[in-house]
Amino acid sequence: MTDRTRIALLLAPALLLLGGLFLSGLGLTLLRSFRYFPALGLTEPDLGAYAAILTSPGFLRSLGLSLWIASASTVLAAILALVAALLLRQSFPGRALISFLVQLNLTIPHVVGAIGILYLLSQSGAFARLAHAAGLIAGPADFPVLVNDPFAIGIILLYVWKEVPFIALILLANLQTLGEDHESVARSLGATRWQAFRHVLLPMLAPGLAAASALVFAFAFGAYEVPLILGQHAPKALPVLAWQAWTDTDLATRPEAMAMSIVIAAIGLALLALVARAVRQGGE
């Protein structure tokens, strides 16, 4: 057996299964988004659904909201994760327990975290009660609006809470493979701690940080259940809007739902390409 056949045989089941599921799913979504729906009498593909969503203020506001949620969550989570990783790299008493908790967070499903954040941060939630007990507020209305709010603070906090451990663990793994040598060399050559971090450590961590951040961005941009629990009645995050259009009892809105999910896919793929390029260039 030649290597080529062997490789083909090894890859075939995975590619067939995944290709079958993923490409057929994406392909049918694409067809439907062009309003090709023979069962409904739509046999002439057109761009009507895209035109409809791109001119709808509701869609554009939702797109903007989802981009804001994803960007803000990613930037905050990446910065805090960097700090957390640098902290957890040091040895200090109690570190084992803290790393265990960091990993515990990784296993908690988003939907559980979102409900927890809701009970914690709502205007009558646990923090509001503490503030009331401390005499800081007279009633729920005085407590800042942190969930179901116009700036999606609750949603962003949930992602930060959930993704800091995720990025931090990836960075920690990177740090372990890098070792401490490069920094020590820099320090021995007279660099300050900050300089050693800025010019030596950070560039080496950058590819891992970029890849992890891209995953977080894509997830925060496309997740459905988190904005469903923590979001506002309007505008809705894009995945929630798409789901609503898809489950509308009026079948005519189906192509629009499909077009929205294609927009989400396109943004995700563009991001993937961007990061793949950046990582490749960084590696060279």
Binding site: D3, R6, L9, L10, L11, P13, A14, L15, L18, L21, F22, G25, L28, T29, R32, L87, L88, F92, G94, R95, I98, S99, F100, L101, V102, Q103, T107, I108, P109, H110, V111, V112, G113, I115, G116, Y119, L120, S124, A128, A133, W161, E163, P165, F166, L169, I170, A212, L215, F219, A220, G222, Y224, E225, W243, A257, I264, A265, L269, L272, A276
Partner: protein, 274 residues
């Protein structure tokens, strides 16, 4: 120049670490309290009355929570098993060989892992509907493979990339059959990686909400769906109890894998999902 007191630095780190850890478990606290509360209204800091009712409901066979726990476990196990069966060979091809088209294959594997479920789920539902797979456990398992299989394959590729192919060649020259070689040489070498990949694959399937809802059509009631239906009806006590049951297997998985992840886990963390 003054050197900072090392004990003071330790204390600061511990403090920062505690703040981090505290934040991480904070959202679980109200869930746990709600699960034993009967009425917990503003401004009470603690529930007005304690009650085991939510837990009694959750553990009552008639309520369907335990059944749902078994079903969620079964789906996650089956998904992981199929993913390993298919993903290990593919990971071997990607990790051990260089070949033309490897870039495309990697991209095809990476895309479903990166793209959110909402991007494919509508189309997948249409395809599954025609195949009679909607509303079935089999359909949900296949749908879960979309995010799980790429993960398994990519992690196994990293594991195989660190495997020394010479070992297998030596075993073969010493007269071992391909199966013996796999069982006695390859498998022991990849087993730690495979275990961790499998446990995390289990968790990815375990956490799915949207794919299960869309493909299962409500008929395949996994724990997140059940929890959501109580949460969206305002039964915070039962929601809390189900939430705690729901995070339990994750905790077990973590205890089983803690060492691998914090240890030499660079390759494994490549496959982590947010």
């Amino acid at each position: 120049m003054m050197r900072p007191d090392p004990r003071r630095a330790d204390r600061l780190r511990l403090l920062a670490g505690l703040a981090l850890a505290g934040t991480l478990i904070l959202p679980l606290v109200p869930l746990a309290l709600w699960s034993v509360a009967q009425g917990w209204r503003f401004p009470h800091l603690l529930p007005q009355a304690w009650s085991g009712r939510a837990w009694a409901h959750a553990l009552d066979p008639a309520s369907g929570v335990l059944e749902s726990l078994a079903l969620t476990t079964l789906i996650a196990l089956a998904t992981t098993f199929i993913a390993a069966l298919v993903g290990v060979p593919a990971g071997r091809a990607l990790g051990l060989y260089r070949f033309r088209g490897k870039g495309i294959v990697t991209l095809l594997l990476l895309a479903p892992a990166v793209l959110p479920a909402i991007a494919v789920v509508f189309g997948l539902h249409g395809v599954f509907l025609r195949l009679g797979l909607t509303g079935t456990v089999a359909g949900v398992i296949l749908a879960h493979l979309v995010p799980v299989l790429p993960y398994m394959t990519l992690v196994m590729a990293a594991v195989f990339a660190r495997l020394d192919p010479e070992l297998e060649a030596q075993a073969r020259t010493l007269g071992a059959t391909p199966f013996q070689t796999f069982r006695c040489v390859t498998l022991p070498a990849i087993l730690p990686g495979l275990m961790t990949a499998g446990l995390f694959a289990f968790l990815v399937s375990w956490s799915q909400y949207l794919l299960t809802l869309a493909i299962g059509g409500g008929k395949v009631q996994t724990l997140p769906l059940l929890m959501f239906s109580f949460s969206s009806a305002g039964r915070n006590d039962i929601t809390g109890a189900i939430a705690l049951i729901y995070i339990l297997p994750g905790l077990l998985v973590l205890i089983l894998t803690a060492r691998q992840v914090t240890g030499r886990g660079a390759a494994l963390t490549q496959g982590l999902r947010p």
